[in-house]
């Protein structure tokens, strides 16, 4: 009896943890059986490189049946029409052409990060993993150091001539796809065309602006005038002052305004990099002088009812409701996920509903900083790796490499010629299968059911995006948002395993603290007005150490 009381008290809370821990204990044994980097390289050296190159483009890759397991994030856009990526037309065709049978393993949408950690802890490692590696806990180098993924330099130079050609064509891709020491760790999602990287920014109700005779705002003063008018002049015409001039999902959209003061704050929905740069110097917004003024303006806006009174508790669902109920005036969103989604779904019901992109607000310096991290990145961070559990490294490398060939890029971006696209004047153009679905589904949905969504392994074709932006408001948006200064954004710097661990320990506390003080200050809660104490607390959490780590990483990046 006595013993049993002890057992149940102690072991119940622990047993979950330990279940994960003990199954992973087995991975020690199995890891030693797997081919290490050296043995793989030895095997490669044994073969003549010359014949390798010639064979590289040969299809199918395998003549005998080969099944590979592929753990992959399941993009929510594909999920609208497909049960897994194996049903997407481009992947069906890829499997057919290469002869490789892929078994897809998807984490539930929205739980990718937890499931990724649990998958690794379980010790049940698939052959290939597609993930947001740049933002993976511990950073990409950790997984090579720990022996989860293979160093790909020799594998790519031997079996992936098409990816090599992409590296040669775009020097920035070549730099950003690597770690500081030149290690290649993934087959990256590549976005070489800068004109399609500015896909996100502020969106305003065009019909409200027209009704109240307001021009598109440029400076923060213009913004204030616009939001104030939305609040007071009843643009939705229901006789009540129920408009929410600025709607934010959690804190993120409010944080965008830091750009007007030449700063950038970490966001939940963006890359986890909490820093920005001025020239070659790394900065952390809450430590800056201007942070106080920015906070004061946001607090004033909130107290005047210009910012959603519930913003900290607002999720995407609630924001959708605010927008379709004619309450939200301005919000942050993407060209397809924001502008396109709402115009397509609301305009047919309310013909007067209209939206427009607004350029990033310009602050006192007169510069409108676009602080979206993707604006400077050819390698947004996602990609596929080959794990140490993979027994068919060569075939896997060739499979990925095919996605970077001319043929493969067409397949991944546009699908199958004659079915989902046609060549018009040498350019691929989506066919009626995309634009005129017999069931009336939107092109946005159809393109995701036939081709891969931007983020997945391959090279992102400019035509993919521009053809999907078929509304004039969307086409305009890329230019409006593109008309900005990207210089605050950090390039994809990488940390060593040790740096990454130390940084995570510091930033976990710092991020919680900054977020909490951010929202409490805006709400005007008591006891948060002392910025000196705020900064002193940040310093006691070793923020300066973290800044130095990031500075070192940026210096190393610049020296690449």
């Amino acid at each position: 009896m006595r013993n049993k009381g002890f057992i149940s008290a102690v072991s119940f809370p622990l047993c979950l943890l330990i279940a994960a821990a003990c199954s992973s204990g087995q991975s020690l044994g199995s890891a030693s059986e797997q081919p290490t980097v050296e043995t793989v390289q030895k095997a490669e050296d044994a073969q003549s490189p010359a014949t390798e190159k010639e064979d590289a483009g040969k299809l199918p890759i395998v003549t005998e049946p080969l099944k590979l397991t592929y753990w992959s994030i399941f993009p929510s856009k594909n999920a609208e029409t497909r049960k897994n990526l194996g049903e997407v037309t481009a992947y069906v065709e890829l499997e057919k052409r290469t002869g490789i049978d892929i078994e897809w393993l998807h984490p539930p949408i929205g739980q990718e990060k937890e499931q990724f950690n649990l998958m690794i802890a379980s010790g049940d490692i698939p052959d290939m993993i597609y993930f947001d590696w740049m933002n993976a806990p511990g950073g990409p180098s950790k997984y090579i150091d720990d022996g989860l993924t293979l160093r790909l330099n020799d594998i790519i130079s031997q079996y992936a001539p098409n990816l090599q050609a992409v590296f040669d064509e775009y020097p920035q891709v070549n730099t950003q796809a690597r770690l500081d020491d030149g290690t290649l760790f993934m087959f990256p999602f590549v976005k070489p065309d800068p004109s399609i990287r500015t896909y996100n920014g502020p969106i305003a109700r065009k019909d409200w602006l027209d009704k109240l005779n307001i021009d598109l705002p440029v400076t923060m003063d213009d913004w204030y005038v616009m939001l104030k008018a939305f609040k007071e002049q009843d643009p939705n015409g229901n006789g009540e002052s129920d408009e929410i001039p600025f709607s934010s999902i959690k804190l993120d959209s409010v944080k965008w305004f830091a750009g007007a003061w030449g700063m950038k704050i970490r966001m939940d929905t963006q890359s986890t990099n909490p820093f920005y740069r001025v020239g070659d110097e790394v900065h952390f917004a809450p430590l800056e002088e201007d942070y106080e003024e920015y906070m004061a303006v946001m607090r004033q806006w909130y107290s005047e009812g210009l910012i959603d009174p519930d913003f900290a508790a607002t999720d995407g669902t609630r924001q959708n409701a605010l927008i379709s109920d004619n309450k939200a005036g301005v919000f942050w969103g993407g060209a397809s996920g924001g502008l396109g989604k709402f115009l397509n779904s609301i305009q047919p019901i309310q013909p007067e509903f209209n939206l427009t992109a607004v350029q990033y607000p310009a602050g006192k310096a007169g510069i409108n900083y676009n602080t979206h991290p993707d604006t400077v990145n050819s390698i947004p961070g996602t990609g596929s790796v080959i794990t140490t559990a993979n027994k068919h490294v060569e075939e896997t490398a060739r499979l990925f490499d095919y996605m970077y060939s001319k043929e493969g890029q067409l397949l991944m971006n546009f699908g199958i010629e004659g079915v989902t696209y046609n060549m018009v004047d040498g350019e691929p153009v989506y066919s009626d299968a995309i634009f005129n679905d017999p069931d009336g589904r939107s092109p946005d949905i159809m393109v995701a059911s036939h081709t891969t969504t931007p983020e997945e392994t391959s090279v992102y074709a400019s035509g993919y995006y521009t053809q999907m932006l078929f509304l004039p408001q969307q086409k305009e948006a890329l230019q409006i948002w593109g008309n900005g200064d990207f210089s605050l954004n950090m390039p994809p710097i990488t940390y060593t395993s040790e740096e990454s661990q130390a940084l995570a320990a510091i930033m976990n506390e710092v991020n919680t603290y900054v977020d909490e003080m951010f929202v409490r200050y805006i709400l005007g809660q008591s006891g948060v007005d002392d910025f000196e104490a705020f900064r002193a607390n940040l310093r006691s959490m070793k923020i300066e150490e973290a800044l130095q780590t990031a500075q070192n990483a940026l210096d190393r990046y610049n020296a690449r």
Binding site: A9, V10, L14, C22, D146, A313, T512, E516
Partner: protein, 317 residues
């Protein structure tokens, strides 16, 4: 379950001592054989996994395995104790539980007594069924409802406005969070938790009530002098089990409801562990916190057990 088997067997044996035990084993071998699966269950799922608790003292990396990870001593414990938020996390966790014990623990007892006093069987069953139902609603749905109702344009604020009040966003007010948490907890689990008390009420002999009535006792007197004393052993066991969970607040509910503006009262150990342990994959840190929680919980259970034994002569062991 196994607990009930052991005492009954030893009663048959009628005493202690090696010889007697052996005789008893031989005599009741089938009853002892029935014990084997349960003993195995505890060995496999509760004793064996405890060796993994050592990751709290290592820098655990799943790919290196438990034995391959380096020892770091009490590093993760000191990281947790020296965390800027340690005191607040501990306070919030304990306070939410304390409020839940003060307000949430008596609720199903009162509920059970009230249901027990209802004479009409159909009405009684209807009330019971309705109060059970919230227990079966998924937590995600409950939290969705709460978020909706408590928003500044939600039902509750509409009512406040109707009576001339000023709407506020409840989920952004740190002072309101504990009330919201404990209140919704009571709403959801009161009916379900009353089942165990209802079962105990059924076993109270009706002669006691008859005798009391002959002596001229009213309803309140009956409840106070018969029903509640008869419920005490059940209440004590439930209380001890509840106190064992004093360091645990379900992370799911907190994560679904909180936001940075109410971290001050809403951030608890489990939500902190989720952010740090699961999202950042610091398994060792999580294990250290789990171990710490277990030790506190064990101490709480032991002391409450002792206290109850002193006060009411009934206890878990």
């Amino acid at each position: 379950m196994s607990d009930s088997v052991v005492p009954s067997v030893s009663k048959h044996a009628g005493g202690r001592g090696g010889g007697r035990l052996l005789r008893d084993l031989r005599k009741n071998k089938f009853i002892y054989m029935m014990l084997i699966p349960i003993a195995l269950y505890y060995l496999v799922f509760h004793y064996y996994p405890m060796y993994g608790a050592q990751i709290a003292f290592r820098d655990f990396s799943p790919l290196k395995g438990i034995w391959g990870s380096a020892w770091v001593g009490f590093k993760h414990f000191s990281d947790f104790f020296s965390s800027y938020y340690f005191y607040r996390l501990l306070r919030n966790t304990v306070l939410i539980n304390l409020y839940d014990i003060i307000f949430g623990f008596p609720a199903p007892i009162i509920m059970a007594i009230l249901i027990n006093e209802i004479g009409h069987p159909l009405f009684k069953r209807t009330v019971q069924t309705i109060t059970y139902l919230p227990h079966f609603i998924s937590l995600v749905v409950v939290c969705g409802l709460l978020t909706d109702f408590l928003a500044s344009d939600g039902v509750i604020n509409n009512a406040i406005e109707f009576f001339g009040g000023k709407p506020t966003s409840f989920l952004m007010n740190p002072e309101a969070f504990r009330t919201i948490y404990v209140g919704s907890e009571i709403w959801q689990s009161m009916g379900w938790n009353s089942i165990v008390y209802l079962a105990a009420l059924v076993s109270i002999p009706s002669e006691l009530y008859e005798a009391a009535r002959i002596d001229g006792a009213g309803k309140m007197r009956e409840i106070w002098s018969i029903t509640i004393p008869c419920l005490i052993p059940t209440i004590v066991i439930m209380l001890i089990m509840r106190v064992g969970k004093i360091m645990t607040v379900g992370a799911e509910k907190i994560i679904l409801l909180y936001n940075p503006s109410i971290y001050e009262t809403a951030d608890v150990i489990s939500s902190f562990v989720y952010r740090k342990g699961v999202l950042e994959a610091s398994f060792s840190f999580t294990a250290a916190v789990g171990l710490f929680n277990s030790i506190i919980s064990f101490a709480m259970v032991a002391s409450v057990n002792k206290l109850c034994n002193k006060l009411t002569q009934s206890s878990l062991w």
